[in-house]
Amino acid sequence: MEAATSTRTPGVSQPADLWPGAVQPTASPEPAKPPAILVRALVKTYGPVEALRGLDLEVEPGAFLTIFGPNGAGKTTLMKVLATLTRPTEGSALVCGHDVVREARAVRERVGVISHNTYLYAQLTALENLEFYARMYRVRDGRKRALALLSKMDLAKRMHDRVATYSRGMQQRLSVARALLHDPQVLLLDEPYTGLDQHAAKVLAEVLLELRDGNRTVIMTTHNLEEGLAGCDRAAILVDGQLVYDTQVKGIEVSSFRDTYFHCVRGELGQA
């Protein structure tokens, strides 16, 4: 089965020696704006385990990149480095031009994170949760902003209810509201569909599509190929701590990409 063809992917490494059948990206002109995300030779080890192995990645502002990969590929580790939750062992990562180690606070001001963990306090109400985070992010008119987001996420009627009484889908929508409080330039979505039923997943997908205003850069990690490819304009595959495939999504069939995904994961890309 032929692998899906990789189209032009500015500034992203795609080692042909790993995947002989992969198409080399053509040279591209330098982007006009500095990249929203710039990762160079990123290594992260946890004791003897190498979670990220010399990863290179460049994401232009306003792009929506979905990173696929099996369990243990390093997706969550990459997100944690970009979110400044953990420091790289080697290499560098810049978010909106700020180094994740030396300028961590500047990075946190510009990044919003949506994860399979909601980061919500169960004993607080939805409004109290958002007001708390608005104060921590020093959002001007925090209460007003919280009310506006609750309305946008269709949670206004339940805003005085404790989060413990919310369904998983409602908690995830509230988590999106929390991540958007400070109007971040970069959104990191780490497997946001985990634990959601089909209806809740559909609602979340609609919400995430609305976030695509061209100014906000979005990076999502997921196992689910259909959900991951919907709405994104670039897809990459991370295996064993390295990016092994990267492509623009326009015109790609899910079935074709699925074959490529399994080939990458099994290391069969390019073999007869």
Binding site: N117, Y121, A122, Q123, Q171
Partner: protein
């Protein structure tokens, strides 16, 4: 001012969470009162060293109930990954520690006051002006317990046997605090002033200062993944 305002935001959130859950506060108060009551029945009131024994009871009750409070201080952060949510905020890690410390101090001190009141009733103690000295002692002891407890609760937060680990870490380090507090309160319960306690109250002040400084310095490394 924004620094302290945000630290108070964290403390207020913790106190609100505990008040709504209530289980921690109830456990703290009940355990403290139980210790006072049980030791009262077990001790012989005619023993010469009764004053020191009473002090020991008071601080044992304070210690056991206080460790419950600090042990729970990161419980709400463990749910739904809230500690990561806090660490994602663009604030100094020291601010997070300060906020948790303030919340723990208020819980520990308030419970200490309840235990002290119960203690004075059960042991028929009349403090008079000694109340001021005892309350100051309680403040210093609460700062020490909250300081160490908050730090080690963060250390133990990611570990499975966190409650046992916290106890193993914290009790040996609290020995100087308990000894100083017990010696000082023995004199206060006997009607003597703080001045008669010599260096013991100062030991508490130095103890608090050292562990506060160390905790602020290392907290960043403790919570980092």
């Amino acid at each position: 001012m924004a620094f302290f305002s945000q630290a108070w935001t964290i403390a207020r959130k913790d106190l609100l969470t505990e008040l709504r859950g209530a289980s921690t506060i109830i456990s703290m108060v009940l355990l403290g009162l139980l210790v006072v009551l049980v030791f009262n029945f077990g001790a012989d009131p005619g023993v010469e060293s009764a004053a020191l024994a009473r002090s020991g009871v008071l601080w044992a009750a304070f210690l056991f109930s206080g460790v419950i409070a600090v042990g729970r201080s990161f419980a709400s952060e463990r749910e739904a990954g809230c500690l990561d949510g806090l660490l994602l905020c663009p604030v100094d890690r020291a601010l997070i520690y300060l906020g948790k410390l303030i919340g723990n101090f208020i819980l520990v001190f308030a419970t200490g006051v309840v235990i002290l009141l119960f203690f004075t009733v059960i042991y028929n103690v009349s403090l008079g002006l000694g109340w001021l000295g005892i309350l100051l002692l309680l403040v210093l002891a609460s700062v020490g317990l909250a300081t160490l407890g908050t730090l080690f609760a963060a250390v133990a937060a990611g570990v499975r046997a966190r409650d046992a680990l916290l106890t193993v870490f914290i009790f040996p380090l609290l020995v100087p605090l308990v000894i100083a507090a017990a010696h000082t309160s023995t004199l206060l319960l006997d009607g003597k002033g703080l001045g008669a306690a010599g260096f013991w109250p100062w030991l508490l002040v130095v103890y608090d200062a050292i562990f506060l400084a160390v905790s602020f310095m290392v907290f960043d490394f403790v919570v980092e993944d």
